[in-house]
Amino acid sequence: MIVSFIPILAVDVAGSVAMVVIALLCLNKARRLREMDPANAVFLYLLWISTGFTIFAVSRAFGHILRQFLILTSNAEVWHTIAPYSGSVNTVSFMLVGLITLFFKQSWHINEKILSSRKSLEDTHIKLVDLNQTLEQKVVARTEMLTSSEHKARRIFEQSLDTILVTDEGFKVSEINQAGLALTGYKKGEMLEKKMGLKDFMTKPSEWERIRGLLEVDEYILNEETDFALPNFTQVRVLITGGVDYGAFGCGKTFHFIIKNINDKKQMEQQIAQADKLAALGELSAGVAHEINNPLGIILGYTQLMLKEASGFEEDLKTIEKHVQNCRTVVSDLLTFSRKGSLEKRRLDVARTIDNVIKFLSNHTDFRKVEIWQGPLPRQSLMVYGNEQELAQVIINLIINACHAVGKNGRIEIETGETKDRQVLITVKDDGTGIRKRHFSRLFDPFFTTKPPGQGTGLGLSVGYGIIRRHGGDITARNREKKGAAFTISLPSAPAEEKEGMGRTQGPKGNRRDIQ
């Protein structure tokens, strides 16, 4: 059968060219896909298969076009030589395409795993970002809370009126607040430099051993009273509460203490107790004195009557009279101590009263070679409302006591002043032996004396105490920092309008009186 060759030739040549062109276009598209998502295994698969198709199309086109060319140019023999090679390449190329195609399922699975892993990674990333943001928010919130808490704690630490003390495991000071520095009198740098511990504040080693024992056993102490020794050699009564802190975040073991200064409270309690005691003693003394005074009057009266007549017992009667008089003096003092009624009172210039007392004492033999120094006086007269005789008696008693304390060649200072709350102060100081601690609570007790028997009745201070209390004032005693004791009388100042026009002419300088 003879047929036209043109359709076969046209389809063969045009088809071969078209195959190559389309295969190259496919390769380009596959490459673009691959660039869009390099991690996509299916796109990689499509690139491979496109490459295979391109090889297939090129080899096939080469073979077909060359064959047609050689046959048409009467070179069929040449084609017969080339044909096996061309056919082999063509076979290999479409087998390659087939082989690659069979890997589609595997490529798909790999891609699914990649996508799954990517999805998982993205989900994890989103969660991590979310967690990170949440964590950042939490960190910010916690940091704010921590800062606020730290600020509060710091304010409590710094503003506390009680001492807050932190020590290390060995009870050495590591932190102390301003109240603590004010209480102890040390500087923080000094404490840290000297490695001072709680022990160093204690007055007695035994007291420290007691407190440390409690801390070691119970790991806390609650309201333990003790005395702190201050750098100025004074003591202060304190109340300690504290406990152990085992710390956190790698911090070491520490001890935290809150120390409360109860010195003023204790002193006030002691003063109240003293006042109560003296009030009770006053009641008792008044009763006793009243009961004894009348019999003494009768004894004295009869003794004096008997002395008017000669009886041969004059010497004995005079002895009786003398001792009865002494007893009456004691009874009188007791009555003065406990007297509740009031004598005549008027406005007094304190400085003038002290002047009169010093003049009076200048004639006393005990005051020879004792220097009495009267401190500078205020510009305005210090006026009080009271009985001059009684107040003078109190001052005399204080000066006499001071004189006995200093002995010969001693010095007694008398100072006056006025406080802001309008209290006139009269202070009698000496440089004597001072007052023993254990005597403080009994100083104003009737019949309490440290003088040898026969040299004092022990009524001077108690009588003075009674007088001052009746004048609405107070009298206190203390040891001076260096040497000696100081007694301070505190009296309410007279109203200001009554003091007008009573300016002092005497200068403010001190006034020394040497009594010879």
Binding site: V3, F5, I8, A18, S50, F94, K105
Partner: protein, 150 residues
């Protein structure tokens, strides 16, 4: 040493098999069958993965169908001329050929004449493959844009 001896002193290797010339066409036919088989697998894999719902993969399926048809065409043509030599072509002139069938059947000649224009199957196959890839590129671009748009 052994390799050197084998290289420089070759001898007849009686263990190797001698190949006849018909092996070439059979290998070629097996290649076509393998290609056909891979295209069938591809079609079912795409369906199995439910990818045929996407236009791009559906077009690639069409491409595979055309490649199957092309393989059948090629196998048929090679079977007739190379394998059983039932048909042969003789060039008469530049524009005419004579299709000679062994049994003189004109139907077989016309069938062979049609099978010789196999590019009418493989070019559409490649074109569908190209269109499929183009659709996949477009879909990927849209997905990228959608992903980047907040």
């Amino acid at each position: 040493m052994v390799l050197s001896w084998l290289f420089f002193l070759p001898a007849e290797v009686l263990a190797t098999q001698l190949h006849v010339t018909s092996e070439g066409i059979i290998t070629h036919q097996v290649g076509h069958l393998f290609f056909l088989f891979s295209m069938v697998v591809l079609i079912f894999t795409i369906t199995g993965k439910a990818l045929d719902t996407q236009k791009g993969w559906r077009l690639i399926q069409y491409s595979a169908i055309f490649f199957i048809l092309w393989n059948l065409d090629a196998i048929g043509a090679h079977f007739l001329d190379n394998q059983i030599q039932a048909v042969k072509i003789e060039n008469i002139s530049l524009g005419q050929i004579r299709v000679v069938t062994r049994n003189g059947s004109p139907v077989l000649a016309w069938i062979y004449y049609g099978l010789k224009m196999d590019h009418l199957l493989c070019v559409p196959a490649m074109f569908f493959f190209y269109r499929g890839l183009s659709c996949l590129v477009s879909a990927q671009q849209q997905a990228t844009v959608k992903k980047e748009t907040p």
